[in-house]
C-alpha cells in the first residue's frame, strides 16, 4: 500500500527529547514493530507518522510524498489506540461507521461495509452496544473494525493488546497477524512486549531514550544485537555479559577470549578491530546458550566451567538457573526435569561457542 520513510525526525517537548534524529524505512505491506521500554518515544513516533504531532525537525514521507505537514485527516491512515478511544456516546455500529460518514459515503455503502467488517471480526452481535457495555476484548475488536473499515493505506497501532487479559491476547495476536497478511496493509505496531514483537513483526525496530538503536528481522535482533543496550533489552531472561580479555597463544597462533576458566577462540579479524592481545572485551552469552550439568554426569566435551548454583526459578517446562562463578552471576535456561538446589556444585557448558558475541567495552557496540 505505502512505504513509510522517516528522515532525521526529532521531537522535543520542552526539555525532553522524545524522539532523537530517527531514520527509518518501513516497507510496503510490511508488519513493522517498534519495540522499546516505557517512555522511550514510541507513541510520539507513531503520532508523528499519524500527523497528530508535528516533528520539531525532520521529514516524513509516504512513498515519495512529503506528508510532514499533512493533517492526520488527509493521510488516509487508521490507528488503534491503547485505550481503543472508542467514541463513548456512539454505538459500536456508529463507531465503525464514523470514518465512512466523515467521508460522506452513501448510507447503503456504509451499511454494507460495516456489516462486512463486523462479520470478518465476529462482532455482529455487538453492533448496538455502547462502549461501556462491552468487555475489553470486545472493545478492542470494535476499535480494529473501525480501523479497517475504510481500507486505509497504513495501520498504526499503539499497544492495542496491552489492556486485555493474557489468554485473549494470544488469540488476538494471531488474528491480527492473519488480518494484516490478508489485507496486505503496511502496519506499524508499537509495543513494549518483546514476545509480541518477536511473534508478530516482519521486522523490529528497537527504541531507547528516543533513539532507534537497531532495525532488523527478529532473528537478527536476537542473535546479532548491535550493542549491549539492545542485547540486554531483548531476550528473556536477559543476555549474560562477561568482561574478559583477549589472549594470544603463540604455540597455536590463535586468539582467545579469557575469563576465569572460560577460554573461547575468537577470530583474528575481531581481534584486529579491538587492538589485539591484552585488550578487554565484553562477551555476550544468551542464557539459552548455557547448559547446566550436574557435576557427576559431566564428561569433558566442549567448553565448560565449574560453578555453584545460586538460585533456581521454575517457569513451567523451563527453569532459569542463576549460577555463581567467583562472585559473577550468570543465568542459564534448563529443562525443568533437572532438579538442582542452591549451593550445589555444577558444571556450565557453552552449547554453541559460535553464538557467543563480543562487544566493544568502551562503546558497547557489537564487534563483527
Amino acid at each position: 500500500m505505502v512505504e513509510v520513510r522517516l528522515e532525521h525526525v526529532t521531537k522535543i517537548f520542552g526539555k525532553t527529547i522524545a524522539v532523537n534524529d530517527l531514520n527509518l524505512v518501513v516497507r510496503d505491506k510490511e508488519f513493522f514493530v517498534l519495540l522499546g521500554p516505557s517512555g522511550c518515544g514510541k507513541s510520539t513516533t507513531l503520532n508523528i507518522i499519524a500527523g497528530l504531532e508535528k516533528p520539531t525537525s525532520g521529514r516524513v514521507y509516504f512513498d515519495d510524498e512529503d506528508v510532514t505537514f499533512l493533517p492526520p485527516e488527509e493521510r488516509n491512515i487508521a490507528m488503534v489506540f491503547q485505550s481503543y478511544a472508542l467514541y463513548p456516546t456512539m454505538t459500536a455500529y456508529d463507531n465503525i461507521a464514523f470514518p465512512l460518514k466523515i467521508r460522506r459515503l452513501l448510507r447503503d455503502e456504509i451499511h454494507k461495509r460495516v456489516k462486512e467488517v463486523a462479520e470478518m471480526l465476529h462482532i455482529e452481535h455487538l453492533l448496538d452496544k455502547k462502549p461501556h457495555q462491552m468487555s475489553g476484548g470486545e472493545r478492542q475488536r470494535v476499535a480494529l473494525a473501525r480501523a479497517i473499515v475504510r481500507q486505509p493505506r497504513l495501520f498504526l497501532m499503539d499497544e492495542p493488546l496491552s489492556n486485555i487479559d493474557a489468554k485473549l491476547r494470544i488469540t488476538a495476536r494471531t488474528e491480527l497477524i492473519r488480518l494484516q497478511r490478508k489485507l496486505g496493509v503496511t502496519t506499524i505496531y508499537v509495543t513494549h512486549d518483546q514476545t509480541e514483537a518477536f511473534t508478530m513483526g516482519h521486522r523490529i525496530g528497537v527504541m531507547f531514550n528516543g533513539c532507534l538503536l537497531q532495525v532488523g528481522d527478529p532473528l537478527e535482533i536476537f542473535e546479532r544485537p548491535h550493542n549491549t543496550v539492545v542485547a540486554g533489552f531483548v531476550g528473556i531472561p536477559p543476555m549474560n555479559f562477561i568482561e574478559g580479555h583477549i589472549a594470544y597463544d603463540e604455540r597455536l597462533g590463535k586468539y582467545y577470549f579469557k575469563w576465569n576458566e572460560i577460554i573461547l577462540e575468537v577470530g583474528g579479524d575481531i581481534t584486529e578491530k579491538i587492538g589485539g592481545h591484552g585488550k578487554t572485551v565484553i562477551a555476550g552469552i544468551r542464557p539459552q546458550n548455557l547448559q547446566v550439568i550436574k557435576s557427576e554426569s559431566y564428561s569433558k566435551i566442549g567448553i565448560a566451567f565449574k560453578a555453584k548454583v545460586y538460585t533456581v526459578e521454575r517457569l513451567g517446562t523451563e527453569s532459569v538457573i542463576t549460577v555463581d562463578i567467583d562472585g559473577e552471576l550468570l543465568r542459564a535456561v534448563t529443562p525443568s526435569e533437572l532438579t538442582l538446589s542452591p549451593d550445589e556444585d555444577v558444571v556450565v557448558k557453552i552449547v554453541n561457542p559460535q553464538k557467543v558475541i563480543f562487544f566493544n567495552k568502551n562503546t558497547g557496540d557489537l564487534i563483527t
Binding site: L52, E73, Y87, T89
Partner: protein, 288 residues
C-alpha cells in the same frame, strides 16, 4: 446505642433542612386573618391556594370576607418569566463562550495559559459587591439599567469565570485519544470537536449550563441594582420589594415558595452529580 444516635442524627438533618421551608409554606397556605394568630398556628386551619392564585395574577373569592379579591399588585408572574429569560440567556451565552475557552485551557498548554488561569481564579474570587459599583456606573453610561439584556451582561460578568473554571477542569481530564482517533478517522479539527468532543462532553456542559442558570436565577445584588422597579425586574428583587408591602405577609410567602420551584427541580438533577465522587471543587458549585 449507635442506632439511636443515628436516628437522632437523621431526624436532626431532616428538621434542619425542612423547618424553614415548612414555615413559609405553612403561612403561604393561610388566609390573611390566620397569619397573626397568637401563638402562630403550626398548621393552616383553612388551607387554601388563595395566595398562590392571587400571586399568579388571578382574582380569587375569599369566603371569609365574601369578596372576590383581585390579583396582587406585584408583577410576580412577570418577574418569574423575566428571571427565566435572563437565566436562559445567561446560561446559553456562558456555555457558548466558556466551552471553547475551557476546552482550549484544558486541552492545550500555551505560553499564556498560566496567566489566563490565574486571571480566571482571581475573577472567580472577586467579591461581587466590589465590582457592583463600577459596573453600575458602566450600566448607567450604556443604558443597561432596567433592561433584560443589561442584567444578562452583568450576570455574565459574574458567572463566566466560574463556568470556564468548571469546564477547564473537565477538559483537562478528557481523554485526548478520543479526539486523536477522530482526526485519524478523517475528521478535521473542527469536525472532531463538533462530532466527537462535544457529544462526549455534553453532560458536563449541561451541568455547567444549569449551574449558570441557577446562579443567574438566584443572584440578588446586581438584579436589585439593575432591575428593581423596572419592567425588567426579576424574581429576587421582587421578593425584596414585597417586604415593603405591609400586611400581605401570606402573599409574600406564596411568592417565596413559588420562587423556590426552579431551584428544587435543578437540585434534583444535581443530586446525582453531587453525590457521585465528581464533586471535586466545591467552589465550583458555590454561589452567592
Amino acid at each position: 446505642m449507635k442506632k439511636a444516635l443515628l436516628i437522632i442524627g437523621i431526624v436532626f438533618v431532616v428538621l434542619w433542612s425542612i423547618i424553614p421551608i415548612y414555615w413559609a409554606l405553612n403561612i403561604s397556605l393561610m388566609y390573611h386573618f390566620e397569619v397573626y394568630s397568637v401563638p402562630a398556628h403550626l398548621f393552616p386551619e383553612h388551607p387554601t391556594l388563595y395566595n398562590y392564585l392571587r400571586s399568579l395574577g388571578f382574582s380569587v373569592f375569599n369566603p371569609f370576607t365574601n369578596r372576590v379579591d383581585p390579583p396582587v399588585g406585584y408583577p410576580i408572574r412577570e418577574a418569574l418569566i423575566n428571571s427565566f429569560v435572563v437565566a436562559s440567556m445567561v446560561s446559553l451565552i456562558t456555555i457558548a463562550i466558556a466551552t471553547p475557552a475551557g476546552y482550549a485551557l484544558g486541552r492545550y498548554r500555551t505560553r499564556h495559559s498560566g496567566l489566563l488561569t490565574a486571571l480566571l481564579l482571581g475573577s472567580r474570587t472577586l467579591p461581587p459587591v466590589s465590582i457592583l459599583i463600577p459596573l453600575y456606573i458602566i450600566g448607567l453610561r450604556y443604558r443597561l439599567l432596567g433592561t433584560t439584556h443589561g442584567i444578562t451582561v452583568m450576570h455574565l460578568a459574574l458567572v463566566l469565570p466560574l463556568t470556564t473554571w468548571i469546564l477547564m477542569g473537565f477538559f483537562s481530564t478528557f481523554p485526548s485519544e478520543i479526539e486523536k482517533a477522530a482526526r485519524v478517522d478523517g475528521a478535521t479539527r473542527l469536525q472532531a470537536i463538533v462530532r466527537v468532543v462535544i457529544p462526549t462532553a455534553l453532560p458536563a456542559i449541561v451541568s455547567a449550563g444549569l449551574l449558570s442558570f441557577l446562579f443567574s436565577y438566584n443572584e440578588y445584588l446586581f438584579s436589585w441594582v439593575f432591575t428593581s422597579g423596572t419592567p425588567a425586574q426579576t424574581i429576587q428583587p421582587t421578593l425584596a420589594s414585597m417586604w415593603f408591602m405591609i400586611g400581605e405577609i401570606n402573599i409574600m410567602a406564596a411568592a417565596t415558595i413559588l420562587s423556590l420551584i426552579v431551584p428544587v427541580v435543578i437540585s434534583l438533577y444535581f443530586q446525582k452529580y453531587i453525590i457521585q465522587v465528581r464533586l471535586v471543587d466545591p467552589y465550583a458549585l458555590a454561589f452567592e
